[in-house]
Symmetry: D3
Subunit: 316 residues, 6 copies
């Protein structure tokens, strides 16, 4: 069976199907056009150059297309880069689908749905539960397929739901250690905190920002929508304002995008759980690509730090 | 006719009516209780001490009461402080009202209303105009009596409306110099930018922050409400998002409370007009109390700067 | 049975025993000396004034003494303050001990010891386990009675051990959600991260900083000592450096006292668990003294924020 | 008539005259030299490559030369770039002048002069007026042709005078809304605030920084010169110091180059008017190149923000 | 012979002459006036209270007066404070002068003058030497009596000249280690860097800031004056601009008051020598008042740090 | 005799030996491999390209090899770059050694050793002297050949010892001006402050960071080792803690890598002497490559500043 790009190293020749994520036209020093293609499959990604690209090539090899490629994997400025030897669009008879080439959540969609429903079922405060249920119903389709971000952490199919479900698990464990925490409030905050991203991001395959998302941000969009949904449900207790506050403050600081810092205990904890899950996810992805005794690449969203992978980790 | 507190200097004896803005109980080193009272009238304000306060005094002299006082004005740590010699609550026969003792806008309520309406009448974009009209109608009562803040700039009766109307005048002039500006958008942003303060502040006399205001802030409250009002009016064009953005970004920077910086030209200009009007207002108030050739007290909201009042200002 | 100071409100008369935490001499405006005493018992604390203090009073009422007091609780600048009516040193026949007046960990010393030992027993990596055992043995006496800080979080008897044990519980739960974490490394880091405080702080009753603690800090002291202990045990694998790194980086950032930021996954997680436990502890203490619907006092170690206590918290 | 470069799009072939703003030599991977030329005309600018440049080419095609070019406009890294097909120096018979190829102020030099003189004529304070007149006379030649900066805002012929005149218009309007402002002082500050740039920048065509400008800056140069000019005019009233202060503080903050922040009301307003005019100018230039519904390129001098151009702007 | 205030400790009774540096009126809780006097003599300083001050007392005991006092030295909030028992103005027959009560430079005025002249004599570059000579001549009177600051470092009679002369000594030594440094330029920069303080500070006894000093700062004043003096001497070589730059940049950073950072090697070194001399001076003053094994008070101008005085310092 | 690379300018042909410091493989746009080689000799350094590199070339021309080259020096993006015409590995018969091609300290190893020993001989405090002696003995071999850094200041053979010896000279001179400084403590701090770099850096030729160095840093490594060495010598006086503190705090601020700021006078001075020597060294290197009247390249470790080299420097 064909191996994915993630299973190839520099020096290999790749022969198989991948999805074009971005395609950019350029002109070489000899005056001829070339294409810079960014390929992905479910196992990884690679930059590639198609030299001497014809006008037809430029029109054919565009974003979101699946292609059959043969190419050599070289090193360029310390990173792998493919030099394409042959390329053609995938055909119906190839039996490949776009969705085969997208990285997916480690837990499948149905399981994520089930685990989310279980958590909602645990909630006792009727106001919080009803608001949460209304949102899950409203965004039933997108909620379980959207990524949590366009890059950095949880940037894969169902990434948003996976992020939510994992945070709920952490919250459940923390409530065992700190029983004074209001679990219902924490659960409601976790489920809703990033749902505004469904408006902020354009989609699942080529994920960029909407105008609305750029000008208002997923936090403000969600604060507004919680009020709308609560009004529709005729709920106006203090829970609504506090829940809006949890969403509003979950980035923790003004300079990180929250106009108010956490001012309710559970808002502070929501922020910390979000940090833990995002950071573990980013670290795991980087460490998976690193050998024991070496450092990861620099992680942009973690202050450009490069992390060391100890050699004794597997001894245990 | 009786002179206000603002017309007295250290060494004078004051004899007249004032409003108690705050009242705080203390215990002196001799074990006896005293009251620290903060008095205001329309001309100014002063701190005062009522030594050896009886239990009855503590119950009588409370916030928002008008009182008749005789007292000596001394200096304490570089500031004027009154030593109360006699004090009694105002009686019906004194013919004084709370509203007589609050500082007021230089332009009266009716005129502010008229000037605001004229500006709205100038607007041509129907979506923006309808949203603005709906808000002015909805908050008709409070909009023309609230202050713009609990302290710093425009902290007086009708201060909010005075701030809006003056900013509209500046906007009108700027549009003459820069005709490319979208005047309708700028007007709409100016009129709505601070209306969320009607929810954030508790009232006109003793102005503090509501729970909702503390946890969400006037900016988020207003972004939410613009969406609600637009929905009620069945308006959903791009104007709604842009107008929300103008309100959202009008503090200019994340660390000043705007989760998004201005990303539309008129949003940037709205921020600058707000700066000009707030700063001129604070500077004028401070310079009015300063003699030519001297420096004002330090102004908290202007980075603790102390401003010089030139001696040649009146030569002109 | 006698109620503690924490069960009294302004207006009450207190009659009982307390411990003097600090005693400061002053001269009143009438030229006479007075003492400012800071009293504590296991339920709370209060500032008090002893007016017209004789020379003998000054010599008698000093730090770490237990005294019998009768006094009125008044309000001074918004805080409770006691006016002492009578005071005398506790006598042998009173049957009171210093330790009765110190706030204690919610879990007793023996249980903390047991829970710590269980965690060490779970560890499989022999190098890490031996280093940890050596430290627990070396500091057997102080480790289970020291506070974790002189103020802010876990500033009570056995506070350090309580902080460690709670963090171990959180770590155990997180390892269930994220099984890829190296639990042994995380446990070792948690147990050792703050032990340097045994050198940094002067003691249990009146907790201040040692010269060594001020000039080097508990982090550097501990990094040095891990190396010493490992040398004595003839351990020099990579575990030693990584464990030093976990301690070195556990404050997360240079400006918070860590000369290196976390550069190993478990170091990042150790930092976050430390944040969670410290913050929950501070928030719980502040919220316990706050009524639903009100805000806590400003919390210095949490960026001077004042937190809201929702009214629906107890509905659940 | 020939269209300017600003009227061409990617894919077009350009055939016409342009001015070389900068010329840089390079060596291609094939070992041959090439020239990177930056062309401008009154309508826009473009980067171009002349491959296989001969030694003669390098000597011929230098800064401030006008050339006749035929070239194809391609896309390179998201920006337009010209591939030169033929190039020759302009000849006398071509009838083109350097000045034809420089972007100019929207208002011509004579009109700027006239408007500036009118403003000076409005001034009543003789000291301020005489100093201002002396400067305008002294720099009569350069003042009306220099740009206000080497890049960012008002980087075109007569940009400095255009910036001054527009700020004077804004000041005039603001004095109508805030009659308490000292108009003479504001006018004098506006006219002189950036004149130091005549020493700081090297010239009109290829604008870089002088040694004096780099080591002292236009602000310090001007503060020094105001004193010199005032001495020559035998003026030494407080106006001189205050005017120096307005220039000194007009960048608003230490980190923006003003060693003292504004400490006089008109200094604060001068800073804000400067902000408004610089920002409107930068925004207009960027928005002119942007289609409604799209975002501008990132603007370096506005914190790298990218601004949205609403689609309803032209509805009005 | 009478001992100075610096030779008294808490508990002592002081009986002697001191100079009033500041006098502030207050009203006690019993309604009577009192004076807070800040006394200095050549050995130290103390705060004092004169209770029940008569109107005549207030008029008699004012700034810059020498008085004869008897008073007890008590402790107040951790600092020494005098309770005045008797006080009278010094009389002609007392034979005391204001200058006897001011702290002086460790090196006398004549010696400072001589050492400064020797340094100037070492200079070889005629332009730099002539400018420096002109300044020393122009400010001959004030230069050798002014302090270098109103507080913090070198805040004593002849403090400015002492600071300059000590920096010249350091510069001379550094030029031995680093002979590539331009000694003439460094000497000139050192001598002129703080002379602007003669305009910025009001005088020797009660040192505050002039209007000119507040609005322009000693750096800008000096940059301006170097140009004036150079013009008068008909010097306009590069030395003038570079020397202005050394003065302009000697605070090192924009946020410390230098609009340009050092951009010439000797400017960088001037900044560092200034740092060394200011810091050693502040540290010595604080450590002189501290016992070995203890920490100094917090030093405002050194980031509020408190320094430790080792016990082995005197072993050597 | 053959001239070094530092004696060649753009346009020259170089013919001689150099050392390969780094070698990086790349693929050109024509699909062929090339090598980017970074050459050094004792006089300077240059980047070079070897186009159409064979597989054998890639294996032959690797780091730390000496090679014989003929190549043309061209300009590429404003910097010199060599185009290699012929290249071969140096042979035994060429009589060249790696050490001939490394930049060396201006003072030779033996002299540095002698000067260091003289300074230690001056010390009187036996504890400090014994610790210092133990370190010099322990690191006798590496101490006199290591650089002080991988780039920036003193990045040459024996750079560390040269940095130490020069700082000792500065300290000696400063102690003449400020005799109150504890010279022994200062000497001990200077000698030990950077010795941790022997563990942090990998070696002399290709200098990078060790894992230990990256995770703990040279400061923490040294603080730990001082304690170990003192224990071995049975020294435990206050000198040990203070000396650890000097090393710990010598970067001056938390954000520069010192978890504690200087809290002892000599620690502050050590930090400043380190600054002076590092900055003079960086400035001299940059100015040596700059012509009078021009600016140096931007210096990364000096806030990216570019320094001016005055034209009158050599007049003296």
């Amino acid at each position: 069976m064909q191996k994915g790009i993630g299973n190839h190293v520099i020096g290999d020749t790749f022969d198989g199907f991948m999805l074009i994520k971005t395609a950019t036209k350029g002109t070489a020093s000899n005056g001829k056009q070339f294409l810079t293609l960014f390929f992905v499959d479910a196992t990884g990604e690679i930059d590639a150059k198609l030299w001497d690209a014809s006008k037809e090539d430029v029109e054919t090899f565009t974003e979101e297309k699946v292609v059959k490629i043969v190419g050599d994997i070289n090193e360029f400025r310390g990173k792998a880069q493919m030099r394409i030897k042959s390329i053609r669009p995938a055909q119906v008879t190839d039996g490949v689908r776009v969705s085969d080439f997208l990285e997916k959540s480690p837990i499948d969609k149905e399981m994520l749905q089930e685990q989310l429903m279980e958590a909602i079922f645990e909630m006792k405060n009727p106001n919080l539960q009803r608001i949460v249920r209304a949102f899950v119903k409203k965004y039933h389709e997108d909620l379980f397929i959207y990524p949590a971000a366009s890059k950095n952490h949880h940037a894969f199919v169902s990434g948003l739901a996976y992020h939510i479900v994992t945070m709920l698990k952490v919250a459940k464990q923390l409530c065992l250690v700190y029983p004074e925490l209001n679990k219902d409030l924490l659960y409601a905050g976790i489920i809703l905190h990033d749902i505004g991203k469904l408006h902020e991001l354009t989609g699942v395959v080529s994920t960029s920002y909407t105008m609305e998302g750029t000008l208002l941000g997923h936090i403000s969009l969600m604060v507004t929508e919680i009020k709308q949904v609560a009004d529709e449900l005729n709920i106006d207790g203090e829970e609504v304002v506090i829940l809006q506050h949890l969403v509003l403050s979950h980035h923790g600081k003004a300079e990180w995008g929250s106009p108010k810092p956490p001012l309710v205990r559970e808002a502070e904890i929501l922020h910390l759980i979000d940090q833990i899950d995002a950071k573990v996810n980013m670290l795991n992805r980087a460490l998976d690509k690193t050998r024991p005794g070496e450092f990861t690449e620099r992680l942009f969203a973690m202050d450009h730090r490069s992390f060391y992978k100890p050699t004794f980790e597997n001894d245990e």
